[in-house]
Amino acid sequence: MWRVLIVEDDPQMREFFAASVLRSPELRLESAAAGVAEAKACLDHAAHGVDVLLTDLGLPDGSGLDVIRYARRGHPECEALVISMFGDEDNVLASIEAGALGYIHKDAAPDDIANTILEMKAGASPISPMIARRVLSKYRAMQGNSAPAPLYTAQAAIKTEAFEAEKGMLSRREQEVLELIARGFSYSEIAELKALSVHTIQTHIKSLYGKLEVHSKMEAVMEATRMGLLPQPAAASASK
């Protein structure tokens, strides 16, 4: 039985999602909030904790991303899904980097909503080909290959370049899986092609999500250091 917190400012939408959650016997509606502050309070004061955070991004008193970050920081057991109208690239990537593990469309059928939540809890992590391509490009740029990576060149790059696992953040296997997702293959097709189980693939993706979140935090720290908001690592260690 997973306890769900819904954060959505539109009352009609909120009720729809609440009803969708209530349809499933495996889900329990812990609470429904209309804003960032209320959501944070719910997270902190939930009697038995929150297992699933279902949040809209555009909230009256801030961004749903803040709620996700707050939940990930204070309640690591809580996993987040974003409610998105279009599931568009920019918003989804930002959500993943904030710590979300997927998204639900606003126009999804009630059964699909419950299913998506349950699948996530079971370890499934959906990722779109567009996001996969973006993530690949991003990591390739970080590895010094600054060319944006259309798929055609991307695969060649993966094959020819010895992937530096210790330096980069993606394993070779993760990259191969991402590559195939970007080309449109389904998880089961990839599993067949790579002689893996679908579960393994889902694990790869889930670990990728975690890496993206960590990486985005690192970027934030680096940016803050660069701007002088945090002490330089060398200076900090010297002062100890």
Binding site: F86, E89, D90, D107, R134, L151, Q155, R183, E189
Partner: protein, 631 residues
Amino acid sequence: MTPGRAACGLGWCWLLTCWLALFTPAAQAEPDGALLLEHAQGTVIVGGETVRSALTLPYHWDNTNPGQRGEAIFDFAFPLSQVPDDVWGIYLSALGNAYEIWLNGTLLQRHGTLAGGPDEAAAYNGADAARAPRYVSIDAGHLRALNQLRIHIRADVGRRGGLAPPLIGPQDVVYPVYQQAYRWRVTGSVGVVAFSLVVGLTALALWSSHAGLRRAGRLGRDPVYLFAAVAQLFWTMYVGDVLVEAPPLPWPWWGMLQVISLGVWGSSMALACMELADWRDQAWTTRLRRVLGGLMLLCPIFAWLSLSRGLPLALTVWYGALGLALLGFVLAFLWSALRQARMEQRIVALAALVNIVVALRDLYVFRIDPVYGTNSWVRYSSVLFGLTMGYVVLLRFRATSQQLQDVMANLAQRVAEKEQALRESYDRLETLARQQERAAERGRILRNMHDGVGAHISSAMRQLQGAAGGTAAPARDEVLLTLRDAMDQLKLSIDAIHLVPGDVTALLANLRYRLGPRFKAMNIELQWDVDLLPLCPQLDAGAMSELQFILFEALSNVMQHAQAHVLRIEGHAPPEGPVSVRVIDDGLGFDPEASARKGLAGQRERAAAIGARLQIASRPGRTVVEILLDI
């Protein structure tokens, strides 16, 4: 006239007086210890006839024997109460055109050739010794108690021949008198010649180097420079005549040239003044220019009559006419100068007035009541003119340089303005290009909204209206399907923004990701056979969006109409040939030719717009929609 102006005028007159006084010769008087011999026994030989008579000096040949050449011998007898034992001398302010001086039977000095020799005709009209004052030294021992001085001259027609009264006395008395006269007539002339030459050449150089601005600020040669140059150069020739004893031309041609020079000088000065006063285009100055031109044309005739034919009145009349014409002009010029506050014009006007007055005085002294052996004043007063002209030329040159600097500065500014304008026009073009780009994108989005979401929503509304009107059974699923199509289309349009241009594989993958759940929900099996396709460089962002639309239409048709069980999406790129994308279903099929479906027409139109070929083959159980893209 204001007191200031009056004072200025007076100052100029005073300066002029002082300046003239410097060179004014002592009157032909008898200094202490010297004798002025004014009476002689004369023997005049003209045309073979000899006339003896007592003569009073000065003897002006042209007055006494107009139009005739000949010779004259003057015998002076003068006793000395005491025979001097020091050096004496004789000073003659003028004599010639050739002469011999004998004292007590001894030849003291000779200049030129006297007639009476074998080449008598050749003796005339050659060199002229009558230009400079003369001094003859008498050594001690030559003088006696009773002395005989004989001066023999040869005179040409109209050449100011004759004899001024000799002044005889001790050297220390007579020589200073000669020196002063020499300075007055010869040294002064050299100064005037040099000065006029410098001014004339300077003005000529400035004129020929274009260094002038015409009226109204137009660049061009300034005629003031030219007229000043011509005047000064001709004046140089006129005044320089006194220094040329043996002229390059025979008499009277040389004399005519001098008269012409004088006329050119006066006329050029008048023309220069006209330019200074901006009178060039006025009717009366045009008339005056004609008068001056006419006088210059007549000049050789009058000069010839006077210098060769013994009609001195001809030249006198000509000089008078020129003088009067110029006097009238100078008075008008002076009047205008006084009324206008132009300094350069006033200075020039004053100098012109002084010159014309002096010239009229010279006209009187030389031609109307001739005095033999005197000097012209105008040669010196002309220096004033030269000075003012030089001053004006410098003023104008300075003004011109300033104007040129202004023009250059103006030019630099205009270049800067042009650059600015160019930059602005470039910016405008860029803005325009951006606007066009935006307009094209907007057009594309609008079209997608119209053909996609708009069409679906209106279709959904029609379905609901039909249900409400009771004409058809309410079809909830149908409406839901239509709206779902609209939503999918919207999502795909948003995804299209991020598609990498030319990456067809990514486009197909995205389509599958978006529509996959619906196929699953409809129990349509999806078969995926898509290779990694090469980039299609001809597909830009707009074309990608069009391609996406075409494929969505094909897939939507399968979902809505085909009742298919299997949908196959293929993407292949054979080594030779175009990239091929195929959507294959096993549904009912349709007749692509007979079918007037609106969606199909839109697909074809869009395919043509991006340069792709659309091929549709359909029969029951197998429909293939193929898009071929050239690389």
